[in-house]
């Protein structure tokens, strides 16, 4: 009798310590810290008001891949931002959101976001922490309110546990959601491409890559400034109007001088982040080269440096593409800490 009683008591002990298996993260998240690669500028966003922790990153990563961020519980951030595509959406000219609805812009690649001075193709969003509010509430993306997201997450055992690990208690609020997402998004660092190795002197370019790099520095680097391969400015790059007649930057500034201007994207991992341009109209780098070479459309706000095109020969185009492929960072594209 006494023995049976003891068994019951120890069973209570065992049950009380059992852990819900879904709570255990699949990949051990460790070593999350702020990185500023040598020679890079000071990041625009730093973590001074959002102390980076492995647990904060883990919560943010879970949220990034969480379909509950949408009204149908079917569309996560990761649905349109795939790691192998440098967190762009492979094979989709414009993003597909809730119920398969189509947006009018291409999912941008996500990498080195701390250096971004603004977000979205039109630069409408000014802080990394506020960026997720855009897609979450867009009626054709995730079509959800941040209030509902917080309510849903607060009824999830998994998120309560992740929240407790990150913040010391289980209460999920919008600030914790947005700050932990910023911890994940802000540590998507890509700085280990062949180009970076060449800069460090541990690898060298082929002749074609070197020729491409020389061309790049004279013809492209004004906007696609090293080492981030963008200057974050808004430019009309001569792709002309679209069916969507997207006004671009002017949608935010209401200035006619900003019509059809879009933010210059980084070219890091460009090989993997097709399709290209704000509306995803080009599916190959060849098409991009042909565009910049000679197919520039003249609209009133066209960037003066592009008038008449860059005059690229067939060999120039091959060399430029060879160089652009040195910006691919396999380590970033396969880093398990970023994976779903």
């Amino acid at each position: 009798m006494k023995f049976a009683f003891l068994i019951i008591c120890f069973s209570i002990l065992a049950i009380s310590c059992s852990v819900d298996p879904e709570v255990i993260p699949e990949v051990k998240i460790e070593g999350i810290k702020e990185i500023i690669p040598e020679g890079w500028p000071t990041p625009f966003y730093n973590f001074s008001n959002n102390p980076l922790t492995n647990e904060g990153f883990a919560l943010g990563k879970s949220l990034f891949y969480e379909p509950m961020l949408s009204s149908t519980n079917a569309v996560s951030c990761g649905s349109c931002h795939q790691q192998f595509a440098s967190f762009a959406q492979a094979g989709h000219d414009v993003s597909h959101g809730i119920n398969g609805l189509l947006g009018k812009r291409n999912s941008p690649a996500l990498q080195n976001l701390n250096w971004n001075t603004s977000f979205m193709h039109d630069g409408g969003i000014l802080n990394l922490e506020l960026q997720p509010l855009g897609p979450i509430s867009n009626p054709i993306e995730q079509n959800e309110t941040i209030g509902n997201v917080v309510t849903k997450l607060n009824s999830s055992t998994k998120y309560k546990a992740l929240c407790k690990a990150a913040y010391g208690d289980e209460t999920i609020n919008s600030q914790r959601v947005l700050k932990s997402l910023a911890q994940f998004l802000g540590t998507l660092y890509s700085y280990n491409s062949k180009y970076d190795a060449v800069k460090k002197g541990t690898e060298s370019f082929t002749t074609s890559e070197q020729n491409g790099y020389s061309l790049f520095t004279t013809k492209c680097a004004n906007c696609h400034q090293e080492p981030l391969f963008t200057n974050y400015n808004f430019v009309n790059n001569g792709i002309g109007l679209t069916i969507a007649n997207d006004s671009g930057r002017a949608h935010i500034t209401h200035l006619s001088t900003d019509l059809y201007k879009f933010k210059t994207p980084s070219l890091r991992n460009i090989e993997k982040s097709a399709p290209y341009m704000h509306d995803g109209r080009f599916s190959t780098l060849d098409q991009c080269m042909n565009h910049y070479g000679s197919l520039i459309a003249s609209t009133p706000t066209l960037d003066p440096s592009l008038i008449g095109g860059l005059g690229l020969t067939a060999q120039n185009k091959l060399d430029l593409i060879a160089f652009l492929k040195t910006l691919t960072d396999p380590k970033f594209l396969t880093d398990k800490r970023y994976s779903e």
Partner: protein
Amino acid sequence: MKKLLFIFITGLALISCKKTEIKKSEDLYTIETPIDSSGNLDIHITNMVNSTPLSLGTTTYTTANNDTFQVSTLKYYISNIELKTIDGTVYKQKESYYLADQSITSSLEFIVPKVPKANYSSISFLIGVDSVRNFSGAQVGALDPIHGMAWSWSTGYIMANLEGTSPQSTDPLKKISYHIGGFSGLYTGVKKVTLLFPTNAIVTKTHTPTLNLKADIALWFSGYYLFDMAVNPTIFDVGKESSRMASNYQNMFQVTSVIN
């Protein structure tokens, strides 16, 4: 004995699962310990339309343009409260952000804490949220985006929001919606208001005066600029119309009384 053993083991079960709780800082801004001589000021807001207290729903009101309308939602921010004493000293409240929401009575009656002991003769505040806090990252409290007052496609707060219906509206569903934003530049929706008190508000550690304010919603549609609901049934964007409406609502407040 058996009972004791049960208590012991159950206790062990509880202890064994108790993890050390590390309370991490959540808010960026902390509240300081009150100064001994400081007290509070209560602010009560009554939203009106012309001379009638506003009620959400079916009551019909009229603008200066003779447009008739009903109100379903009324929310606006009050921030950066400053109180001026009779000798000209200004007390600026830290972390001064309030969202007045007609559907939540308690949001229309709030306390300004830690007001230094003095006799106050005027108040200043912003209708809206100061520019800095519009892009400072994820916020809590009145500025939490769950209140539906943060733009999402573009960074910034909706400073003031009025929604309802009007037979004059050219919207297919006869809706009227005015989401007034813009935190900087020519078309800002943030407006500073300064109001003199009819009698001084006497704040001490033990005495909390009440400041009664009224806000006349009819003044969103006239004063600086006369709005026609047939022409402007909605404003969802920052521009000339939104800044005109903000210039109108800048004048909506009056102090009705100070109760000492």
